[in-house]
Point group: D2
Chain length 393, copies 4
């Protein structure tokens, strides 16, 4: 174990984002670990824009962006064709999403609907016994307006709309639900809920303790409670695909597609997953990186409820519901150099763009589901009737 | 809806990664959507290295990297102090992880252990009834060596080690488990399992149908089955923190920390999350982006089992178990320009580095858990004894 | 396959509960299967009381009842000592619960609180697309009073208090929550919700289809949604046990008990169970059979959230929360011969007794948890220090 | 709080099942609580048979039994028609199951298959750190035969077949899986595993602590791990129903039935239940009470995976998989007076009957699923086209 000072990462208290401070850290890292960091040190963004986004800045990751599309969306906020920037290092991802987008475009485009929108912080309150916990819940009802006002003092764009309650033992677990405008809102709701809890602690006549987070908002974690009750945007993308189109473009019949889906549904139920679809995380992550979203939110944003039907005429209804999609077009990393450009590519940058972005992402996810889902089903056919026959002596 | 051809993304069949092809797409996007893409178009990586990583390349996302550390790891593969590159746009993330790393370093460092390592593809086999499904399971046992040999023909570094079975209805859901060397192995196991299934279909005397994926590998999705049975690396990071050290650096007593944890554990059980910790996704995502991992795997890699004890002397034992951490030091995006440099910074690039990387990530996660966990607990104290007193008239 | 008529179970259309009808069935069964049914045919209950409880009556199961107690309850509805009738065929069950009750009595008794009370039916509504589903949710809000009135026409004791909503795809899954007095209320809420849905279908201006149950009430099934949101009674039982008392009566130290519990909590989180306790189903089932509850409800009623703390002085706080305890003191099997006697033994028969019964059951469960939990921990000690030493040469 | 002695339940150390001892307790209860217990005190069973089944015996619960059937089973152990005794106080239950049985008989009977059979106890082992836990797992492999031999010394009918492992933190959670003959086997596996752990503790060269249960067998609790890996019998019941038959007997088209099922499947996935069917607990509980099973096991035995398909010709394939059905035809309450008679009615009493009983129960469950499932779907039709028309002015 080396001496701590020898290993201290250089910081410049005056301006830690100045060229000298950055160079000092690069030299330090280079010397310590023998990595050149030449590419990391090559970037066009302005480091002076980075306070609030990163500490100890040394350069950038260059993540390749591919263009998928055109994606035809029939949304309430997103209308028309979009070229979707996807930042990824996984080969075939962009091609596969594009394939699905082409299919959906030929079928008339994807209908999208944002059905819910809220962000939360989830304090837990502790009491001497369950009785006081129960009584406190009544007190919360009576003082909702004052609590909301206390929260409101900390934010102009967030608004407390509901306090959900979950009793257990001598605790009351809550979810403070907010609307948050075009921001993702995790910080905003944290501050607002802290203020609300402070007001509660000062004004509640009885004894209570609180923790700002009781694991009922499950930030950066997927959970049933978030999937049931929405975290961020709850958005649905739907399409009905003609049987002949699927056969032609995906080389699979819709009844085979549906039969495979049934087995997958049972598999998803048995394996107890947060996602009974195929690979929503691929599309969501690639757009998140490109557009400056908080990529760690992929943990919960990739949760998905898929639902499909085989219609009497053989057409295939497919839908995805993203119950906890956390997106922003304002704040966080959305204003950084390449990230803003990618939001602009989608026409989503800034105020008023967040529902449009949510719809585009949901449509992208649906396109990707159909592409991969078809490929998995088509494979058996290939294997059974063709490849093996050719390849085996 | 515009004409399809008007919207067709330009591709160059000769060399789609040549400057002209890239420029054509940039112009197309610029014209269509009015975004300059100036920053996106600025990069030092060589596009000729990108086939296999991205299609329709138009440039890069520049994601800022901060340096966290030093992180002291007492692993079996990672020994000593590390400077951890974290690519993020979330302010305070790097600072918070560094704060936790400092605490852990002062306590003697973090012990890490890779306890399991496997990757899977999960075909489902369908039969006329449950009886044939049951009988097939016996046949699988008898022919395991031949099935493994068929899989082996497709890969030099992967090896089939086990076929798990889960009966339901007339189906047998399976998990083909492989070791995969320094690669993450999803593609490798996909190909190998397809070959294995082809062999099975050719040789099984009865009627069967298979789908290559029955939702029991839950690739890019978190699931109980993967958390129970490992996907990628299962790695544990542990530390025992002296009570006085926690009090001094984190401004919180270990008994308050533990009491808060108990309530959080119940919250996690009730909300039914894949992660009874705080924010593993933050650290994992930031390292994944920096080091060229498949970032979509954050969906499952961020799953976490936390376990802590308050020792009789007041010291605090803390551990995290990452049951489905998918990492690679070879293949995928690991060889790209900035990504390779970041792996080199950790001394993990290339063959033999993958367990070392897994240990560093687990240690980073533990440091981050302790930092945020302490902050949440310390807040009430601040609120109760200080801020409110000052801020309220 | 025999001819159907030959196998037709005899029924008497005039009075199927008359001695002749019963005897005819007994003869039929005796002849067909060669079982004497002598004991089954021995009972003191009056079959004329059975319409509404069972069809094709042939006799009774005689399930032995043991008496556990005294159980000291400090409830809001149950005060003082109770002798608890437990119908079971599992040896040691009554003895083990009695052991726990003795411990809890010595510690001053168990505090119980009913924190919530509701019963539901959960229709799912289907629309042309997600947009109409979303709009319908708003319409539900606007017409809540009329919908509640339609439900109210079918019941005097039930009252619709809330309609919860869960969007997915083009559907709206709902939970119609009711209070139901002293009845369990499943039938009552079924009828009321059917009437409500009929009113909705007649009055909603758009196209909709509904199913009376969308698997969101999960009747006779345990589910996260019921554990989070209560089905039946949500009741908490709590106690603080002095360390010395536990040591004396249970032969185990409270810190060992707590340490074991921590490991069990992680086990419960990993195995993904509906119950992080030990064996609530034992006590609940035994009381359910004895008191004429719908025993199939054990499936959900046995769900349990346990929470314990080791206090600084070594005392042990223990609690159980039963989130979906379905009980009645009126209707169903509560008025049958032995069942009524057992309810009277608890002073719970009839109107106004249901919360008292819920409290007694919760207290019984807590006593049983402490008894078995201690036994599991004490065993290792026995094994390590005693038995083996004696038994091995 | 009364004096403890005043409330002490009378026990007779010489013979606690003698008439006098029983009468003393009845008097005591009668006096204390004012309940006559006349019916409770009426029974034909011989109390001298009760040691090992109940303590503090005071009489019996008389639970009415109805006869359902005939049930036509095409099993490997159960062949032909059965009359099924169902002990219940829930009206319509027996009638509804009979309705389903009639439908299935008309369709040729239900095919049943026991696909797995094992019982477990799940000790958790604790070590200084994760590394020793991992090493211990290797040691378990090397010493499996000796461990199995130690377990074997305690039982003649049980056999240890596998030790599953689940790493977390510094612990190894295990599942010791056994075959248990015709007994349910919970006690048998408890004793055997205790002996095995004792042998391990004596012979393992390193430091370890164990708890006999780490919440990975989840006895009397439902869990994902038990549903995935079987507890008791894993049994499948299947049938294909002609479309015309369903229409005729159930008054619903198979496509409506299937469409409803799809929505129910998504509801089950969202509500996170252990049972994507309708009401398996009803049938299982009623048979369990009648046949002397440990009724508390309904908690896990009622878990169910349903899977259905709409065939191209409109016929309906339906199946249920009971993954954790715990049954016995030997030991426990199976030999008591009425219970034995009911097992004899099914031809299942005693050695060799347990798989037959499992098949009959699974077939009963499937019949009940089809009956209730059809009724739910038929209701909307009734409501829309008939009742409302008539009932509303």
């Amino acid at each position: 174990m080396r001496d701590e000072n020898e290993l201290k990462i250089p910081r410049d208290r005056t301006d830690d984002y100045a060229p000298g401070a950055i160079a000092a850290r690069q030299s330090f890292a280079r010397e310590y670990a023998g990595s050149s960091l030449d590419h990391v040190g090559t970037y066009s963004l302005d480091p002076q824009a980075l306070p609030g986004n990163v500490e100890n800045f040394i350069g950038v990751a260059q993540v390749p962006i591919g263009l998928a599309g055109p994606l035809l969306v029939n949304g309430e906020h997103a209308h028309g064709d979009f070229l979707v920037p996807m930042a990824t290092t996984e080969g075939t991802l962009v091609a596969s999403y594009s394939r699905g987008m082409k299919l959906c475009r030929a079928a008339g485009g994807i209908t999208t609907t944002v059905v819910d929108d809220k962000m939360q912080r989830a304090p837990v309150f502790t009491f001497p016994s369950a009785r006081e916990a129960r009584d406190f819940a009544g007190w919360l009802d009576e003082h909702f307006d004052e609590i909301a006002a206390a929260a409101q003092e900390t934010t102009s764009s967030g608004r407390l709309i509901e306090i959900q309650r979950f009793f257990a033992s001598k605790m009351l677990y809550t979810r403070f639900n907010y609307t948050t405008g075009d921001a993702a809102g995790q910080n905003m709701t944290g501050k607002a809920t802290f203020a609300a809890c402070a007001w509660i602690k000062q004004n509640y006549p009885g004894e209570l303790h609180f923790l700002l987070e009781g694991q009922f908002a499950t930030d950066k974690k997927t959970s049933v409670v978030n999937m049931l009750h929405t975290r961020g945007k709850r958005v649905v993308a739907e399409i009905t695909l003609p049987a002949a189109l699927v056969e032609e473009q995906m080389h699979v019949s819709t009844d085979k597609l549906f039969s495979a889906r049934l087995k997958g549904q049972l598999g998803a139920f048995m394996s107890v997953t947060n996602n009974n679809g195929n690979h929503s995380a691929n599309g969501i992550t690639a757009i998140f990186i490109a557009t400056g979203q908080d990529v760690a939110n992929v943990a919960e944003s990739s949760a998905l409820y898929g639902f499909s039907e085989l219609l009497p005429n053989g057409d295939f209804y497919a839908s995805v519901t993203l119950p906890s999609l956390i997106v922003a077009t304002y704040g966080g990393g959305t204003g950084l150099a390449t990230q803003r450009e990618c939001l602009e590519l989608l026409g989503c940058y800034g105020t008023g763009g967040v529902h449009k972005l949510a719809e585009i992402i949901a449509a992208t996810v649906l396109a990707g589901e159909l592409s991969l889902g078809s490929a998995v089903v088509a494979e058996e056919w290939v294997q059974a009737h063709d490849d093996l026959g050719r390849n085996r002596p």
